[in-house]
């Protein structure tokens, strides 16, 4: 039994990476990273993209001779989308697999659960997909760092677009899920919006809600012109559909998950003009990013999602830290806490609490069936007002 649980569940793709590791291992011991990913359960699809990002990163590093001459190995287990399983896996990775550092799991609660174990053991981790900055706000984590744009800035891009384009429109509704990340984003956005001279109303809903019709009636009753929805994907789609069904046409509509490709599948032609926000786009024009997209396409035969990019970036951040301070846990921690490291997501940098402040979201909008970046220098002009629901 022991040898069974010893081996990671890397799958066939991993076999390639492991082979590299074995060949190079003669020259030097591999540097081992561990990860617990939600390969099954609620987050399984997205977590698979993260897995692909980690594996691609390890493969690329090993192809170029490793980090400081040492090959990289990634051990991945499945946490079934459950924090309790994540805790056990953290122990397993440290104890039985002797990993140097941890590449983050998929969801925020699991990141938080593992972080507790890692604080005790003093092992660094990058919260790869942990957009939820409340993990770092609720307590001091010394060994875990946010590796994704902070959710606090969820509404930032949309507010910028309003500032530039939204002449005359004054009445904004922010909808938030009663979940920490969504509340934090709303709390960040409210004062900013008020400073811009907008009238803002915030509407909370219960996680798991399917029915937004009463919120829509309240928005209609109060004459809302612009809507920014800060919750998860599924309620966002439900809200949008019910707005369409009610014939409620705001001047501008933003929901934070809108940039996802599946949004078009869900909404069809109605997606036109909907704003979203993006942590990363395949079109970002830097040499490092182009190389990543090309390598990913060569390996998996499709354009990478932001999950894979963030995973790749987390690997790059560790790589940068090790190149700077050596393969030593305390050194890595120090580098992640203070240095600026270039990755495909941008410049990795964290604040005093370990929250990410180097990465930012870009604002996007669906135009003619494609989601384009509409903020920043090389961006398209946003469509304003949004065309009415057809």
């Amino acid at each position: 039994m022991t040898h069974l649980s010893r081996r990671s569940v890397l799958g066939s793709a991993a076999a390639v990476a492991s082979t590299f590791a074995v060949v190079k291992a003669r020259a030097a011991d591999p540097i081992k990273f561990g990860a617990s990913l939600s390969l099954t359960g609620r987050f399984s699809d997205s977590a698979k993209y993260v897995q692909e990002g980690y594996l691609l990163w390890a493969e690329q590093v090993n192809a170029k001779g490793g980090i400081k001459g040492r090959p990289v190995e990634v051990v991945i287990y499945d946490d079934e989308s459950k924090p309790d399983t994540g805790r056990v896996l953290a122990e397993r990775l440290l104890d039985r697999d002797n990993v140097l550092a941890i590449l983050g799991p998929y969801s925020s609660p699991i990141t938080d659960a593992m972080a507790t174990a890692l604080e005790r053991a003093q092992v660094p981790m990058i919260g790869t997909i942990a957009s939820d900055s409340s993990i770092w706000a609720r307590r001091r984590l010394r060994w875990t760092f946010q590796g994704f744009p902070s959710s606090d800035f969820d509404h930032e891009g949309f507010l910028k677009v309003i500032k530039e384009k939204g002449q005359g429109s004054k009445k904004l509704a922010i909808i938030f899920e009663e979940a920490p990340f969504s509340i934090a984003a709303k709390d960040w956005a409210l004062p900013v919006a008020k400073e811009m001279g907008l009238t803002v109303e915030a509407f909370g809903y219960n996680p798991g809600a399917q029915d937004f019709r009463s919120i829509i009636e309240r928005m209609i009753a109060s004459g809302t012109e612009m809507v920014s929805m800060g919750g998860y994907y599924q309620p966002s789609i439900a809200l949008t559909r019910q707005m369409i069904e009610r014939g409620f046409n705001p001047v501008a509509f933003h929901f934070i998950q809108a940039a996802d490709g599946v949004t078009k599948e869900a909404l069809g032609a109605q997606v036109e003009g909907v704003f979203g926000r993006s942590s990363w786009e395949a079109t970002i024009d830097t040499p490092a990013n182009k190389a990543f997209v090309a390598a990913y396409q060569a390996k998996y035969g499709r354009i990478p999602s932001y999950h894979s990019a963030a995973a790749f970036a987390a690997g790059q951040a560790f790589q940068g830290a090790i190149e700077e301070k050596g393969a030593d846990r305390a050194g890595i921690r120090e580098a992640l806490a203070s240095s600026k490291i270039e990755t495909v997501l941008g410049t990795f940098h964290t604040n005093q609490r370990g929250q990410q402040d180097g990465y930012h979201y870009a604002s996007t909008q669906w135009q003619g069936g494609t989601s384009y970046v509409v903020s920043g220098p090389s961006a398209r002009a946003p469509l304003w007002p949004k065309p009415k629901w057809s």
């Binding site: 099954t40 079934e80 609660p109 507790t116 005790r120």
Partner: protein, 326 residues
């Protein structure tokens, strides 16, 4: 009858000694140089066992199925973190957690235990959701963001505490189900009308049992709160924990003292193995195991093994009810 009783006492004593010895050995693990991975597995085994025994004390013995034990443990976890953050000593905080869960169980007990078992099951099922909603809405409970234990305790503390709770709960079930009241409760499970005819105030017994069972669940949750140190309402009050609380005794043998021990070992083992072999099918396989055990082994694996080895199954030992039947 005298002889029987003497043999029973001997069995309880030997059983208790065995449980105490096991508990002591498991509790000593942190100082025996075992890897923290093994310790974590033992910890989770004890955690599931303690929850399973709490469930067993109520549902296993009375046949009234509770889906609330996860929520009751969650209440305990919340209570302990709030109490410790208010600088109360550990012992008092754990006590508060047990009492809080016990009080919460009264809501269900009083509303539904005088009715049929189905009402009780529904009442417990809804508690999960109600507590989750309330915790998210109540500011002192940390709201949707949950709460964090300000002090992170060394791992050996929750480890030793959890094993003590699991061992104590097992001992309690062992002793109780052989006591006079325990035997009557078992009789009541098999036929409530008959049991009330021989003079058991069924409702009162059930409410008291459920309260005690809830207190153990609360204590278990409290210790786990110290272990986890960071609580999210959605995770703490998810139905998963309630499933484990009933799957462990049901697989091992509901209503028996040692069945849940076997159940906890099987569950933790199964989880670790499936983790590697068939991560995608974990839930399905647990469901299939549960279904097969219920359909074909009736009272769980431990009694089935007992029958296999011709050990006498003492479950049937109930007062004669021939007079009140027919």
């Amino acid at each position: 009858m005298k002889v029987e009783r003497g043999r029973d006492l001997a069995k309880i004593t030997w059983g208790s000694l065995a449980i105490l010895a096991c508990t002591a050995a498991m509790a000593a693990l942190p100082w025996l140089g075992v890897t923290s991975y093994v310790r974590t597995l033992v910890y989770y085994g004890a955690y599931f066992l303690a929850l399973g025994q709490a469930w067993n004390l109520m549902s296993g013995l009375t046949g009234y199925v509770s889906f609330a034990h996860g929520a009751l443990a969650g209440i305990g976890a919340y209570a302990v973190v709030l109490a410790l953050n208010a600088d109360l000593p550990m012992v008092i905080s754990l006590l508060i957690a047990a009492i809080a869960a016990g009080l919460a169980s009264l809501i269900i007990g009083v509303t539904s235990l005088r009715l049929k078992g189905t009402s009780f099951t529904f009442a417990t099922l809804f508690l999960q959701e109600l507590v989750l909603l309330l915790v998210r809405k109540l500011p002192f409970a940390g709201g949707p963001g949950g709460i964090v234990l300000e002090e992170i305790f060394p791992l050996w503390l929750p480890h030793v505490l959890m094993i003590a709770v699991a061992g104590g709960a097992t001992l309690l079930v062992l002793v109780f189900r052989r006591s006079r009241t325990g035997l009557r409760v078992l009789a009541m499970r098999d036929d409530e009308a008959a049991a009330s005819a021989i003079g058991i105030d069924a409702t009162r017994v059930k409410i008291v049992l459920f309260c005690a069972s809830a207190a153990i669940a609360g204590l278990t949750g409290a210790v786990h709160g110290v272990f986890a140190s960071s609580l999210f309402p959605n995770e703490v009050f998810s139905i998963d924990l309630s499933i484990i609380a009933l799957a462990v005794p049901l697989i091992g043998g509901a209503g028996t003292a040692l069945g849940p021990v076997l159940g906890a070992v099987i569950y933790v083992g199964l989880r670790e193995i499936l983790q590697v072999l068939a991560p995608n099918l974990h839930l399905t396989i647990v469901g299939v195991v549960l279904l097969l055990v219920i359909l074909f082994m009736r009272d769980g694996i431990a009694p089935a093994l007992g029958r296999l080895f011709r050990l006498k199954d003492r479950r049937g030992q109930v007062p004669a009810i021939a007079e009140v039947r027919a």
